[in-house]
């Protein structure tokens, strides 16, 4: 996994609550057996019209949000299905950090597994960023994971909490499986005292 470095990028708003993973990547794209190729299908049903043309009503299709790497969204982002295709699609679409008042549990774990940072800010802080992203073209922000802060181009800043283990893994780009497999002795010792159930 790539280490998560301090990043600055354009902020795109998604002013909705409960954006579920069925919206982020609809089921018809889950048949792929690769980890890649999902970005073009992100938010498919919202993003494209019947004839396949981009839906001009969909916020991420607006010219001014092209190239955004930070998404600001409403509460309970990523709810529903456990499909990891959701962070894969968001990552390929260009997002590196997501900001919302809350995220669903499984989705949060899936983001961390893919070097993507889900940042929980207060509703007020999210509202501030959402408002600016909606009003001002070119609104950008800097995410500093080391310092646990989000600072926008106007100098407004907020800090966030993150599990220290997750932070370290992201900063170093650690391979979680590799880390666990180093604990072979512990796992083997546990298994020795824990008979299988059938």
């Amino acid at each position: 996994m790539q280490p998560f470095e301090k990043m600055t990028g354009l902020v795109a708003p998604m002013d909705r609550a409960n954006v579920d993973t069925d919206q982020i990547i609809p089921k018809q794209f889950l048949k792929r057996i690769e980890r890649t190729g999902f970005g073009e299908f992100a938010f498919f049903d919202w993003r494209y019209l019947e004839d396949g043309a981009p839906n001009p009503q969909f916020v991420l299709n607006e010219e001014r949000y092209q190239g955004a790497s930070i998404l600001v969204a409403g509460p309970n982002f990523g709810s529903g299905s456990s499909r990891e295709h959701a962070p894969w699609a968001l990552g390929e679409f260009g997002f590196k950090a997501l900001i919302a008042p809350s995220f669903a549990d499984i989705f949060t774990g899936n983001c961390f597994q893919n070097g993507m940072l889900p940042i929980v800010l207060t509703q007020d802080e999210v509202d501030t960023m959402m408002g600016k992203a909606l009003q001002r073209t070119g609104y950008s922000a800097t995410v500093d994971l080391e310092a646990q802060t989000v600072t926008d181009d106007g100098g407004w800043s907020a800090s966030f909490e993150i599990d220290p283990f997750r932070k370290e893994s992201l900063l170093k780009g650690l391979d979680e499986i590799g880390q666990t497999l180093k604990k072979e002795d512990l796992i083997a010792a546990f298994e020795a005292t824990h008979p299988a159930r059938w």
Binding site: Q23, K27, R35, S82, H85, I187, W198
Partner: protein
């Protein structure tokens, strides 16, 4: 100190839990299906890793299998490829697979309990959010993503931060005409779709204790729709009677010993939860969702809400958006909503008891003109048992389609989908936009309510239903 069931199971599976860090948790049962596993196996191959415990890993094909004639060549080439890849992966890594043509195939959360893989006190994971279902047996079961699937395949462990605990205490008995599905739609409408986020939830109270195992599975299954990490119910005599005699459950004296162990799993008296919610069962009606998340539900005697009535502007906006997608007008009586399609099935309500309940409603009636209704058993075994009882005949006589087992129109990865604008009464668990087909409009209900709606052509109050025994 008295311990919760969650805590007991967690503690007894910790391989390592350093202070202030997530635990490394050992997994007793890893369930695998075709949609979330291909990339995990590929990851193993690329890193030259093997599956640590193929003996604790079980795979099935459920999400994209067709539910019509399986002897025909596969129409969907990409779906076929995904199934072929599952065949190859499980063969290469030595994992037991119940493929599409196996008599034991079915929805992963239906076959685990059915075959006795799911037992009290276990830790169970699957690359699927509805893994919570298995908590009905007093196990700790939760959904994981594909990277974690790879992690479990490689190490038989997951890295997990300890969730908080929540007790949802259901006071009183469920009124006639209401069941586990109504209970859950009601609870989620009360606490919200993120109400249990970050929590492992234990359900308690007389309504839960009196519930069958199948009903308990419905309850735990829907916990994820309230944001819960896991749903759990203490194992009791109902649980032990259900598991006894199933294929992978210990027999004879071993079974008796297992029961003694399983009894110790229950939360101790006085165990404290981080959060506690009390629900009064008596006030629950047969419930129907009107919106685009499972928390947007209302009793059958109610009507479509007016977004203007919400105090919270964010909720009002959600409601307005949902009504637009669902093409509903505020104030419309729920019973006036006309349906195009009805789907009975899924890991929420596709078990034998659900089909029996639906058949009792369907018996002697016919699906209304203009409505297409399908019954999709949760597993091949459910289908066989239902046919032994003649349920298939009742459904077919009433003009319901009787299909092969799988997830089917719960998520419409196979050809079973809604067309844009179609309105569907569904016994599944998610009414998200496009879930059952782009532009499709899903109303979540119990099996009885779905069946009655199919016959009437619109939603009806099951408490007024004319059951025809002949």
């Amino acid at each position: 100190m008295p311990k919760t069931m969650f805590r007991k199971i967690w503690d007894s599976h910790v391989v390592e839990e350093p202070e202030g860090r997530p635990a490394l948790l050992f997994i007793d049962l890893h369930l695998v299906h075709e949609v979330t596993s291909a990339q995990a196996f590929e990851g193993l191959r690329l890193a030259g890793r093997k599956v640590r415990r193929p003996d604790l890993t079980i795979a099935t094909a459920d999400h994209n299998v067709p539910t019509s004639d399986r002897h025909l060549p596969f129409a969907d080439k990409i779906a076929k490829q995904q199934l072929d890849v599952l065949d190859k992966n499980t063969a290469d890594f030595g994992i037991r697979l119940y493929d599409m043509n196996s008599p034991d195939q079915g929805i992963v959360h239906v076959i685990g309990p059915e075959q006795g893989y799911t037992q009290p006190g276990m830790t169970i994971v699957c690359g699927d959010s509805h893994t919570a279902t298995h908590g009905a047996f007093g196990s700790l079961a939760f959904g994981i993503g594909t990277s974690e699937v790879e992690h479990v395949l490689a190490s038989q462990c997951v890295v997990q931060a300890r969730p908080k605990t929540m007790e949802i205490h259901v006071d009183g008995d469920l009124p006639a005409g209401t069941g586990p599905k109504d209970l859950m739609l009601h609870i989620i409408s009360q606490m919200g779709v993120a109400g249990a986020t970050g929590h492992a939830v234990e359900f308690t109270g007389p309504a839960i204790e009196n519930m069958s195992m199948e009903g308990r599975m419905t309850v735990c299954n829907m916990t994820i729709e309230g944001g819960g990490r896991a749903g759990m119910i203490r194992p009791d005599d109902t649980t032990f009677a259900y598991v006894e005699g199933r294929r992978h459950v210990p027999k004879g004296a071993d079974f008796d010993r297992a029961v003694e162990e399983w009894k110790l799993v229950a939360s101790d008296d006085g165990a404290e939860f981080d959060t506690r919610i009390v629900i009064n069962a008596e006030e629950i009606e047969p419930t129907v969702t009107w919106g685009t998340n499972p928390g947007q539900g209302v009793g059958i005697t109610g009507s479509v809400p007016d977004p203007g009535d919400y105090e919270d502007p964010a909720q009002a906006e959600n409601a307005a958006r949902a009504l637009e997608y669902m093409d509903l007008r505020p104030g419309t009586a729920i019973q006036d909503l006309k349906l195009d399609r009805v789907f009975i099935g899924s890991c929420t309500n596709g078990r034998l008891e659900d089909l029996r309940a639906a058949a009792a409603v369907a018996k002697g009636h016919r699906v209304a003109d203009g409505v297409r209704a399908m019954v999709v058993p949760g597993s091949a075994a459910v289908k066989i048992l239902a046919e032994k009882e003649g349920l298939d005949k009742i459904f077919k006589d009433a003009n319901f389609e009787w299909r092969e087992a799988g997830c089917s129109m719960c998520l419409g990865m196979n050809p079973d989908i809604l067309s844009p604008g179609e309105r569907c009464a569904s016994t599944s668990n998610r009414n998200f936009e496009g879930r059952q087909g782009k532009g499709g409009r899903t109303h979540l209900v119990s099996p009885e309510m779905a069946t009655a709606a199919a016959v009437a052509g619109h939603f009806v109050d099951i408490r007024d239903w004319e059951y025809r025994d002949q």
